[in-house]
Symmetry: C4
Subunit: 234 residues, 4 copies
């Protein structure tokens, strides 16, 4: 089976942008994508299974069953979101899945891929900075105007591969990574990425729920840090 | 070749349930499936070879040759049993085999998959408890009524994957795991799973031979434990 | 490409036996097969390349180039020999290659597979004993009459897999393994296997060159052992 | 997708030689190929993507994105160059890519493959020596006249595999390896390989830029060595 895309419906997209939101560093892209789906009214239109996903089922509270899966959502803002609870394992699986997804969205009129993620830092002081990279000069200039600098180094997993394979298929690509310490799911980094992405793609989005999540996480964090400080005091 | 299903005959099934009984934790599913095949009069109708099985042949007493194989049996109670002496190795092999089996049984009218297995515990006191999970609410409620609680955690291998891929193909899924210490083939856990499964699927099964196996295993066990205690006494 | 069989010519076989002679324990099968090809007048009719062979080229004396390859030879005694300088690596590669070879020889009328190899022992005293296994009772009885006993344990690699996959394709299978310490290429074990195989298949073969190789190897061996003894004496 | 060759144009080759220049020991082939492309006026005509490349994107200065890729260039001297920033990982990926490339160039009239690379040495004193190997006697004799001896040992990766698979497809093959310590990109070894290759294939090439690179590298090297000596003096 390798990689199997089951279409639930075929949305009438115009020239949709593919936004990648799979789990990765600090779950930055994953949190941002989940928030986009909720706030933009995304509708699931495809379910993706890959033989490079892990071979198990997860149980959820009360005895339900969840399986490793990727999904495509269509938002009325003409945005397609690649969301899921896993990435394919191994180079072969990653290439296969990204390739299939890109071919599908290209058929739907897609001309641009936007990938998101975390940018690992030892320490993140104040607002996490957002960095960018792009597959062409025009896109890169637009992106740079909205964020704090350019990415230095490799972009791993689907976030990098979708850009490279997109190029092979003639799609433009841009990537936004927010600083994260990658030691917990990081809504603060997701928030900063989303601010930039919404400005870049020109859609309005209510970020209040995400801001609340950030607030709660930080309160928890301060408390833990306080305890740590207290512990260290003795 | 990847995964090859050789049909020996095509049983006239109505709306068969697929029951998974491959080797795994405590050989619980494997023992239970073997007992079902014998007691329900299962008839082998398909032989499955996969290039993800191990590449060797085993010899049996007297110079015969056994090879890694999975098999499908049809029982007159309209039950299909997936039995074998191995599981495919690696994610790709597991997905491929489960996918092929599910597609075959779906063509035969199957609408539900039931998987079995062991649930690892440090210690199992008294009767091993049986836990369940299911892919939809209705099935879950039925299952819970017959057992001791719901599964918490991951369901590995074919027992988990058949549920997830079954869902992709529109089949319902339910899983029963019995507590086992997973340090020896565990007929006691298999017996408890079989009691629940027979009630769940509504078939009659003579469990006396399995009970005898449990008795013999436990006698052996007590003796060993006695010796251990005696050893510890000095 | 996976596994590619290039036919050089199509020999007019009647009901040929496939004899496996790939490198393995003590190079027993490999040495025996090479000797059979030479003495029986085998003619190469197919070259096999697999993407599961190692990805390198070997140089030979004087700057020539040898590559990992398997080959099929046809001998006028209606014997097909699978010979080569490597086995496919990994389960997938092994299954693919054995499967392709078996399908080809089956088309040529083959109904029986005979595999050879070494049987690892800590020490081999006197003549290496030869053990057998077979996929059916009739063949097994014939085989047992000609050798020292039956194989206990697993038969690894192509020697085991060809038997198992042969069974799937409806071919009979028999295996002869000779005792070897597997610490050097072992012509003595190859000689013993060949004696049994020639009797089993009913062909005449001049074993004098192989006997000479055995003699030379043993002389060398005694010398080394003598030195070792002398070393131990001090 | 496995291995995907995207043709940008189809050059009118006559009987082109395929020259391999992928990254490997001391980057010898890679540097030599890059220099050939520049000096011979090579024109990119195909882009190769493989699911056995690594699954990431690299950023370049200023926020651009580079992806793992192989490319084919056609030079007016009737030479096709296989160039890239990576080799496929794993045996399967290497075989697939080499196989696809060889089939393409064979269709373009290619009858000979020339591979280059480094030959690892503990120490390289004075001019790095160049060694050769070839798939037939005629080619080997021509090659030996132009270099310092024949290769002893294995030729790893695409440099070896293109020769072996070329043979399967009926293409002649020759390989030139220059001595390198393989601890830094080695333009000096690349220069020596290029001198031999240009004479072997009979094309003129301006080596002055490569000589300059060698000079600069060696100056740097002497300085480092000097420092090391000074450090050792204390």
């Amino acid at each position: 089976m390798t990689c199997l895309i089951r279409l639930l419906e075929m949305p009438e997209a115009r020239e949709p942008v593919l936004v990648e939101g799979l789990p990765g560093m600090g779950f930055v892209a994953n949190i941002a994508a989940m928030h986009m789906i909720k706030e933009l009214g995304g509708r699931k239109f495809a379910v993706i299974t890959s033989s490079s996903f892990q071979d198990f089922a997860m149980t959820v509270e009360g005895g339900g069953i969840r399986t490793p899966v990727n999904e495509l959502y269509y938002c009325p803002q003409d945005i397609i979101i690649l969301y899921g609870n896993t990435q394919a394992e191994g180079s072969l699986g990653q290439y296969e899945l990204c390739w299939e997804v890109l071919n599908l969205v290209k058929k739907m009129g897609c001309k641009m891929v936007l990938t998101m993620g975390g940018y690992r830092r030892e320490r993140v002081l104040g607002r996490p900075r957002v960095y960018c990279a792009a597959t062409n000069q025009g896109l890169l200039e637009e992106a740079r105007r909205l964020c704090d600098g350019v990415i230095v180094g490799n972009i791993y997993g689907a976030a990098g591969l979708l850009l490279g394979l997109g190029k092979v298929l003639g799609l433009e690509g841009v990537c936004f990574l927010a600083e994260t310490m990658d030691i917990y799911p990081d809504p603060r980094a997701a928030l900063e990425v989303l601010k930039v992405v919404s400005r870049f793609l020109g859609f309005e989005i209510d970020l209040s729920k995400l801001e609340e999540a950030v607030f709660l996480t930080e309160e928890l964090w301060k408390e833990l840090a306080g305890e740590e400080r207290r512990e260290k005091a003795f």
